[in-house]
Symmetry: C2
Subunit: 219 residues, 2 copies
DNA sequence: ACCTGAACACCGTTCAAGT
DNA sequence: ACCTGAACACCGTTCAAGT
C-alpha cells in the first residue's frame, strides 16, 4: 500500500477524552457529588463536556458504565492482607474493606451479583488473591468458592445495612404489639452511638470465621 | 346540622377498588407476570383499570407501593418454625424461607434496608416472632438484634446470589491470569447442577449458626 | 371523595447529519 | 472515527376540571 502516514497531529499523543478510564472517573465524580439519583447519562456527559449521545460511541449503555465503575472499585478492596496476616485476620480485613467500598455504592450490588467475571479484570484479580489466601491457609480447593460466596453475600447485605437510617428499628406506636423485639432493640449494643450496624457486621463476621473454622471436616 | 344521610347506595357496602390491599395485590400480579422492569405506575393502573393519576389519591408515590409490597411479602416468611423446632433448625427454616421470598423480589431489598418498621406491621410481627424464638432458646436479650441483623444481611446478599446467572464465575479468556480461582471454581460442588448458590447459602448458614453457638460467652 | 386527561420535567437511547 | 442536535418512547408525578 501507500506510505504510512502519521495520524492526527503527529506531535503529542492526541488526548482522547472519552476513554473507559476517563468516563469511569467522571462517573465517580458525579456519583460522589450528586449521588446515584443524580447520576444520569446527561450529568455524566455534562461533566465530560460532551453531548449525551457522544457517550454511546464508547459505552453501549448506562449499565455498561455501571459495570466499569464496579470493576474499578474492586481494585480498592484490600487483598494485600492475605499476604500479611493469618487467615482469620486477613478475612476480617478483606471483608471490612470490601463492605466499606460498596456501602458507598449499594446501587452497584445488583450489578455485581449479575456480572460475569470474564468482563471484569479487577474483580477477577480480587477473587484470585482471595483464593490464594485461602489455599495458603490450607483450605481444601473444593470448599473455597462456597465460603467466598457466603462471605460476599454477608458483605453485600451488610453494605445495605451500613447505610440504612439508624432508626429503622424504632417501633413507635406499635411498640406494645412487639414488646420482646422492642426490648431487644433497646438493649442492643451500639444503640444511640450509631454503631449498631458495625456491631452486627462484626458479630456476623466473627460467627462466619469461627463457623468456617469449626466446620465438620476442618477447612 | 341537618339529618344524617346514608352515603352511597345504602345497600351492599360500596366496593372500593383502590384500597392498599387491592393495589398491593395488583402490583404483585404485574410483577409476577412482567417483572420489576415491567412494573410501572402505568402498568399498575392498567391492571386496576384506572388512570395512572388515580393511584396518587391512595399512594403518595411508587416507593410507597413498593413498601406495601415488601411488608405484604414479609407475612410469607416462615416464623412458625420457632415454635416447632429447636433453635438451629428453626433459624435454618426461617432463613431459607426468608431468602426464598426475597430472591424473587431483589429490587425490594434496597427498600427493606431503609424501611422503618413502625410503618410495616407485618415486618414488625416477623421480628417479634424471631426475637421470641431467640429468647426461648436462652439468648441474652442484648445479643439478639446484632445476630438477627447479621443473619438478615446474609439472607439479603444470598437472595441476590440466588438469582444470579450460574456462569458468572466463568473466567473465559482470562483463565490463565487467575489459575487458582479458575481451578477452585471448577472444583466447587453444585457446579453444572446449578446448585452452587444453594451450596454457598447452606455453607454460610451453617457457619453462622455454629459460629453463634460457639461464640465467647455462649449465646 | 375520587377519577380523568393533559401536561411537566425528566429519563435512556437512536440516528441522520455533520466534521 | 466520533461528535451534535433533534427526536423517540418512555418514566413518575401534578393538577385543573369534572362527577
Amino acid at each position: 500500500m501507500a506510505g504510512v502516514r502519521t495520524r492526527r497531529s503527529a506531535g503529542r499523543p492526541s488526548q482522547r477524552v472519552l476513554t473507559q478510564e476517563n468516563i469511569t472517573a467522571a462517573a465517580l465524580e458525579v456519583i460522589t457529588s450528586r449521588g446515584y439519583e443524580g447520576f444520569t447519562m446527561s450529568s455524566l456527559a455534562a461533566r465530560l463536556q460532551v453531548a449525551p449521545s457522544a457517550l454511546y460511541n464508547h459505552a453501549s449503555s448506562k449499565a455498561e458504565v455501571l459495570r466499569w465503575i464496579q470493576d474499578h472499585l474492586m481494585a480498592e478492596v484490600d487483598t494485600a492482607c492475605f499476604a500479611e496476616l493469618d487467615w482469620p485476620d486477613a478475612v476480617r480485613t478483606w471483608a471490612r474493606s470490601y463492605r466499606e467500598v460498596f456501602a458507598r455504592h449499594t446501587p452497584l450490588i445488583a450489578v455485581i451479583a449479575v456480572l460475569q467475571v470474564s468482563g471484569a479484570p479487577r474483580t477477577l484479580a480480587m477473587y484470585e488473591a482471595v483464593t490464594e489466601g485461602f489455599l495458603r491457609a490450607g483450605w481444601n480447593q473444593a470448599r473455597i468458592i462456597p465460603a467466598i460466596v457466603a462471605l460476599e453475600s454477608f458483605i453485600f447485605g451488610s453494605a445495605f445495612d451500613a447505610v440504612a437510617p439508624t432508626d429503622i428499628f424504632d417501633t413507635g406506636s406499635l411498640a406494645s404489639e412487639s414488646p420482646l423485639f422492642t426490648a431487644a432493640v433497646a438493649a442492643a449494643p451500639g444503640r444511640e452511638s450509631g454503631k449498631a450496624a458495625e456491631q452486627a457486621f462484626e458479630t456476623g463476621l466473627d460467627a462466619l470465621i469461627h463457623g468456617f473454622a469449626g466446620t465438620p471436616s476442618g477447612n
